[in-house]
Amino acid sequence: MTCSECLERLSALIDRELSEEEVRTVSDHLDGCPACCREFALLFCADAEMKQVPVPPAPDRLWPRLENALPPASAPAQRIPLADVLTFEEAAHFLRLSAEELRNSLNALPHFVIAGQVRFRKASLDAWIEGQEQAAAPMIESGVSQATGTTGTVVDFMAARARMNRRGRI
């Protein structure tokens, strides 16, 4: 090992980040090289001294200062969480329908219009699906394939599909 290779590794030696083999090679070099050995001693002592320099403790006033700077605590939220109201796209995703299918079935589904936009309350959709399930229980139990038969309506089919999709997700 050359002096230059040894000097490059002294810092990692102090940090105990050399492999066992590297430690052996560097130690062998230090044993026979007073210049590198002196450099190592200087680095090592400087490091030890720096580690021992005390740092002041955090002042007690830090929390009161921080508390004053924190944004005001918001009142307990009573509003409906955002996820309870679905946009058109979210409702289509929730029911596993295309936008076109949802648009065609809009009159059959509970929804409301605000600022010209169609919105769905998730709880209302859930209740509506429950109702559809009860009404079409025999058909749903026998699977979606029967729901597409002549006795099933589009709405029945949608309810069956939504229910099966939700089961699949669970």
């Binding site: 002294l10 102090i14 940090d15 580690k51 005390p54 740092v55 002041p56 830090l62 605590a73 918001s74």
Partner: protein, 189 residues
């Protein structure tokens, strides 16, 4: 020395993090108490001034309060906090014309001299060391503080600073050489 940040992760309750994410003040106060000393120590090492460290520690905790919602509990909270704290430290710009009022720094009994003159010299030497670290170029300073003073492994520092282990190793070597030169210059003045 107070425990380093990563040691503070031991026993940190996920429910405490969750409560902080919901904006609960009492939980945030608990989190603050747990991390106050290591965060302040880190801030002090970057600035070498108590008043600046106090401002900086406050900024770090404010940032934690704002950003804790983005923490995903899959990784170590202390790594997340260290990364945020180091970034704040590197971005910190000192307020101009600051008057520093110093509080007594506790000294280790074995190193504490009874002689006021000797104490003053010792204090001056300590200030010089803190200042030399704080004056290191930014790329070297963060690595040196994390590894040499906060006792991180190269791998931990690399993860916190988004560097390779080899880059940490090279920067540590350069930082040590640079510090030695700076402290030698100071002694000669």
């Amino acid at each position: 020395m107070t425990p380093k940040l990563s040691e503070q992760d031991n026993g940190i309750d996920l429910s405490l993090i969750r409560a902080c994410q919901r904006g609960e003040r009492a939980a945030f106060h608990d989190l603050f108490l747990r991390f106050r000393d290591p965060v302040f120590r880190l801030a002090f090492r970057f600035t070498a001034q108590e008043a600046d460290a106090e401002d900086l520690a406050q900024e770090i905790f404010l940032r934690v309060f704002e950003r804790i919602g983005t923490f995903r509990c899959e990784s170590s909270f202390s790594t997340w906090l260290y990364r945020l704290a180091v970034n704040q430290c590197l971005n910190y710009r000192r307020r101009p014309c600051r008057v520093e009022f110093r509080e007594a720094v506790p000294e280790e009994p074995s190193r504490c001299s009874g002689d006021p003159l000797e104490r003053s010299v010792q204090r001056e030497q300590q200030d010089r060391i803190h200042q030399a670290v704080a004056d290191l170029p930014e790329g070297l300073k963060a690595v040196f503080i994390l590894v040499a003073l906060e006792e991180h492994t190269y791998a931990e520092a690399a993860e916190t600073l988004d560097l390779t282990v080899e880059a940490v190793r090279m920067r540590m070597s350069r930082a040590r050489r640079e510090l030695r030169e700076r402290l030698k210059e100071g002694e000669m003045r």
